[in-house]
Symmetry: C2
Subunit: 196 residues, 2 copies
DNA sequence: ACATTTGCCTAACGGTGTTAAACAATTTAA
DNA sequence: TTAAATTGTTTAACACCGTTAGGCAAATGT
């Protein structure tokens, strides 16, 4: 029966619709006002239907988080491919990270719990950006034969700076875009120089 | 009638009790599970009473935020007083900031919207830490005659690094305390050196 | 003593996430 | 083809949330 396939495709589609609806609502009204009933409304169903696709609301957020990390990883890989020089790669990657945070603001919020209580459980895809960055950092530092621990430490230094800057900007601080750009480039450049 | 005074004192006490109860519940179960009815339970009243002291739940969070900034400011002033050298003052102040974030974790969360949707409206006390820090930064950089804008920028560089590191640690990252301390001291030291 | 204010509570409204039960439609079996 | 079983979907409900309105009882003022 080929109709089975069609039904399966349809099921997959509603699943996708639920995720899309959730993300759309979050973009339009913020995560705070996202509700199961609103999602149901948007996909033209009633709320309990959603529970046949996701075990609860948190599972929806978790799946969006996963999608976010996949998307971010793609951006980072693309940025890396723009250069051959590790130091340049690193700079471009963090810039891509920064761009991601603001072009997919709500996704970033749910991924890192900015201004919202995100799902605690972490998926394995979380580690993809980590692996990408530490790989390039290792390349930049290779003349120093750094330990895994040192690389990890350097990564978190980078991450703290960028994530801090992102958070501060999402909460709203009264800094101009130009100033932010300068802080960002200064910080990234500074750390890269310090590890070379 | 001196009984008026007693009643006024009692009213002030319940107000304080509400704030204390809210903070206690947040510490015990997290901000997410804080509810008006739980607060009422803890102070042995029913929920509507709270609205005679605070216009709504957000007002409670806002007042706790205010208390947080006052407390943080006090810590920063104390740290500053430990040294006469501006650069040293700056280091000690950021260390105090770090300590505050973890000894009053929930307060920090509500102040800066980490893992929760904090109240958007900012009180004037928010600017107290800002003024303290920029004052000392200006002192450190005084030989360069920096503009207000530059000082602001340097402040936000500091802030981003520290707040980023704090956020990352509150979300949970798998870094040891020692590593964090090292990153923190490296970062603070690095920035101070870069502005001297 | 009565009238008024005050303190506090119960009940309710509209919302939330989530579950159970009922109904309708479709597929399967006889 | 008709009866049975399965699937899709909805309605109703539960327990909770923030918040408001109304009423009761005690304390206060006159």
């Amino acid at each position: 029966m080929a109709s089975k396939d069609r039904i399966l495709r349809q099921k997959e589609e509603t699943r996708k619709n639920i995720l899309d609806a959730a993300y759309t609502i979050a973009k339009e009204e913020g995560w705070q006002s996202l509700s199961m009933r609103k999602i149901a409304d948007k996909i033209e169903y009633t709320a309990p239907i959603i529970y046949e696709y996701f075990s609860n609301k948190d599972a929806i957020l978790q799946e969006l988080t996963l999608k976010g990390f996949i998307s971010l990883t793609k951006d980072l890989e693309k940025a890396k491919s723009l250069s051959e020089d590790p130091a340049e790669q690193l700079e471009k990657m963090w810039m891509a990270y920064w761009d991601f945070a603001f072009s997919d603001k709500e996704l970033y919020q749910v991924m890192y719990g900015v201004q919202m209580n995100c799902c605690s459980g972490r998926c394995s895809a979380t580690e993809n950006p980590y692996n990408l960055f530490t790989g390039v950092i290792a390349e930049v530092m290779k003349s120093q034969n750094p330990s895994k621990e040192v690389i990890k430490q350097k990564y978190f230094t980078f991450f703290s700076v960028i994530h801090g800057l992102v958070s501060v900007n999402m909460i709203g601080n009264g800094l101009s875009t130009i100033t932010n750009d300068q802080i960002l480039k200064d910080a990234i450049g500074g750390i890269i120089k310090s590890i070379q």
